[in-house]
Every structure is written in C-alpha cells, then in structure tokens.
C-alpha cells in the first residue's frame, strides 16, 4: 500500500507548478489534435518530431528545409502544408523523416513541462500501450492536459481519466488528487460513447464548424497504435529509439 505510486491530473498548463514533483513522468495530452497527430506520425514511420512554440520558429525550420506542420485556431497556418490533422501525417513519404510542429495548445503544454525528467506523449490512440509502459516504471505520473488557451478542456480530461483508470486498475497506483478522481469519473461517464459525450464540448463544436468531424472520430478511437513518443532534449523520438541511444 505504502509503495504505490501516485497518478495525478493537471487540467491546464498554467496549473503545472502546483502539480509538478521530482521524479515524475509527465504525460502531455492534447487529444484534439496535437498529441493524436504526433502518435499518428510516429506510427507511420516518422523518426523525430520537434515541437516548437511559435510560428516564427516553425518558419525558421521551414527556411532550413525541414518538413513543418503549423496550426492555429484549428487550421493550417498559411504558407505551411501541414496542420495538426492526424490524416495529414498518414503519408508513406514521411517514413524516416523529421517533422517540426507548432500547435495552439499541445506544443505549449510540452514546453511547460520542460523541467520534467521524463516527458511522454499520450492520446487515446496509444492508451493501452502507454498505460502498460507507465505501470512498469515505478514512478509517479502526472497527466498534463493541454486545455484550450489555458482553460479546462473536456476531451483531454477524459483521456487523462482513461489513463488514471488503467493505472489504478493495475494496483500499483493511487489517486489522491481531486483532479484525478474527477477525470476518472468523467472518463467512466464518457467511455461508452465519446462522440455523444463530447457533443456539447467547446472544442468539438469549434472543429465541427471547420468540417473536422472525421478527425474527431479518429482521435476519439482508442488504441490504434502502440507507439510511445518520448522526449529527448527538445524533440520527440520513439521509445525504442530512445532505448537504443
């Protein structure tokens, strides 16, 4: 009982200082759509992803010849060929490539956790694979929801709740924090029909207006890949590559 690790949920990046601890694994979550897109890109063979905070940085990489994805307000930024639609990354030509990516919320959360020892990328797409790995690590876990412009966001909370549920079920974790208890309850209410549960959510409405319903359906379908993207310096690589370095 005493040896169980803690799993906590931080609902938005600005609350991170209240939740961070030493020796914690931070899971960055941005279901719609940054971390779903990242998991998709790796599952299609991308070798390395460099998340950057600003359009200017993204442009700098583009000028150097990098493949760059840039999204703001749900849309591809003018002048860039890719945004954060997972479908954009299902491209056999990207195999082995490095991709630079900047998005409204997800890359911000990634940079917020810059002082964390270990940062991995979570989404519903890699739920089981990442949960199983987290369960083996014997470390406290913080699920960091990207939110929407630093406001609470439903789909990230539900995804965090799905991870909480699996970690608790392993018997190796406790959740003492109210934020984790709430996330788990919301997940249990949502899990039988994510689309219906999120019907009213602000982000789903935003994306629906942009005709991105197919993206939403894809991002809300758990376990489509077993990739585990992990941070190395300021970029992301696959866990298997990280181990072999």
């Amino acid at each position: 009982m005493q040896n169980r690790k803690k799993v906590e949920v931080c609902h938005t990046p600005s609350l991170y200082p209240q939740y961070k601890k030493e020796n914690q694994i931070v899971v960055v979550i941005d279901v719609l759509r940054a971390t779903s897109a990242m998991c998709t890109a790796f599952s299609y063979g991308v070798k390395k992803i460099i998340p950057v905070a600003t359009i200017e940085e993204a442009q700098g990489y583009k000028d150097e010849g990098y493949l760059v994805a840039a999204e703001r307000k749900g849309q591809i930024v003018e002048g860039f060929g890719l945004g954060n639609s997972p479908y954009g990354f299902m491209n056999p030509e990207f195999e082995g490539k490095t991709i630079v990516i900047t998005t409204t919320n997800g890359t911000r959360a990634f940079h917020t956790a810059k002082d964390a020892e270990t940062v991995v990328i979570g989404s519903l797409l890699n739920l089981d694979a990442l949960s199983n790995w987290l369960i083996q690590q014997d470390k406290d876990v913080l699920l960091l929801a990207s939110g929407w412009k630093d406001k609470f966001c439903l789909e990230d909370t539900i995804c965090a709740g799905a991870f909480v549920d699996q970690l608790i079920a392993s018997g190796k974790f406790t959740c003492d924090e109210d934020s984790s208890i709430a996330a788990k309850y919301l997940y249990l209410s949502a899990k039988d029909n994510y689309m219906a549960f999120l019907k009213a959510s602000s982000h789903r409405r935003r994306l629906k207006k942009l005709n991105l319903n197919e993206d939403i359906k894809y991002c809300l379908t758990p376990n489509q890949t077993d990739v585990i993207p992990i941070r190395k310096a300021n970029y992301l690589i696959l866990l298997e590559d990280y181990r072999s370095i």
Copy 2:
C-alpha cells in the same frame, strides 16, 4: 436562443483571468467550509462579514475589538476563538454583529474576484435561493471555485455543477464552457449521495482526520437557508440589506 446568458465555471482562483468578463456575476464557492460558514453566519443573524486575506489583518481587527474567525489547514488559528466551522457561527450572541474572517482558500477566491462588478457567496446551503436570484438577473454568471491551494477541488466543482444544472434548467442560460459541462456531469453523478461520492476526495480526508465529519455532513446538505450574501465594498452583507442601502 441568442439572448440566453452564459454560465461558466472557473476551477481555481489562478485561472480567473481566463474566465472573467465584463458585467458578470461572480459566485464564490468554498463548500468545505468558508462559504458554508458565511451562509450559516448570516442565517443566524450576523449583519456583516469582512473577509481578509492574512492572519496579520485578522489580528489587526481583533486588536480593535472585532469578533474574528481565523482558519488555516482546517484548524482554528491559535489565539482566535473561531475558525470556519459552520457550527461555530450558530451562536445567538452573534445576531446583528460584524465578523472578520480569514480562511485558507475561500477568502483568497473572494479577493481574486475583486474587480468583478457583483460578487455573491454560494454554497450548497443556499443553492435554491441563490439559483433563483441568479436566474432573475439577466447577466452572465461565473462560478468561482476556491479549490485547495489553487488545485482543482471536487466538492466546489460539484456545488458549481449544481448551480449550472439549475440555471440551465431555467431555460435562460447556456453553458458553452467545458468546465461547466464537466461540473454538471460531476454534480449529476454525486447528487444522490454527496458523502459517498466525496469519500475519496482529498479535502474530505483532510477534514475527517481532524474529526470534522459533522461539519462535512452539514456543508453537503443543500438548502438549509435562503440567505444571499453579497459584496459591498470590501465586505459582505445580506442582499436585503444591500437593496435597502
């Protein structure tokens, strides 16, 4: 449809800047126990409550002869006769008196909303009375949960969800924000048995350790009073006194 007002939930004081708007009524909520205690005090005849942020300010008022309540970490601060237990305020001798109060979280939330035009005090104790009044005001409503040291807290979110539920049911409000949708879901899961739902909550565990189970039961029993405490300058008075000024 266009004329409906918005009801939103802000989960902790530090997120307030993201949620605040002009012309909004802010409802400060600290179920365990500051706003429950304030509602109780007014229902027992207290005339005026002055919330202060620090022990030093509280001591200053005490030195001037004021009746002062001071709580930190769930306990009465040494040297003060009152904390934030609602039972402490059920005293016929307090009728017509002014009370100064400082608590860990609730008074901080009150001061966070200092720029809001209208600030009222909410708890489960005055749920119906305050909901009915809010429904009549034709203004946007922000439910500001006090949280616990700026972390998300379950009982305040559930109470906020109870207000969201009533406001939406009136047909005069919409809730677009994910934080409000989540609060309403959590309230609907909790409402048939708050004590059981909150069994695992961190704050309930904290208070239980301090033998405050009776306080918790009382604070989680809706509609024990119809008082509506409202801010006037830097203190709180009853709505009926506010109107007659």
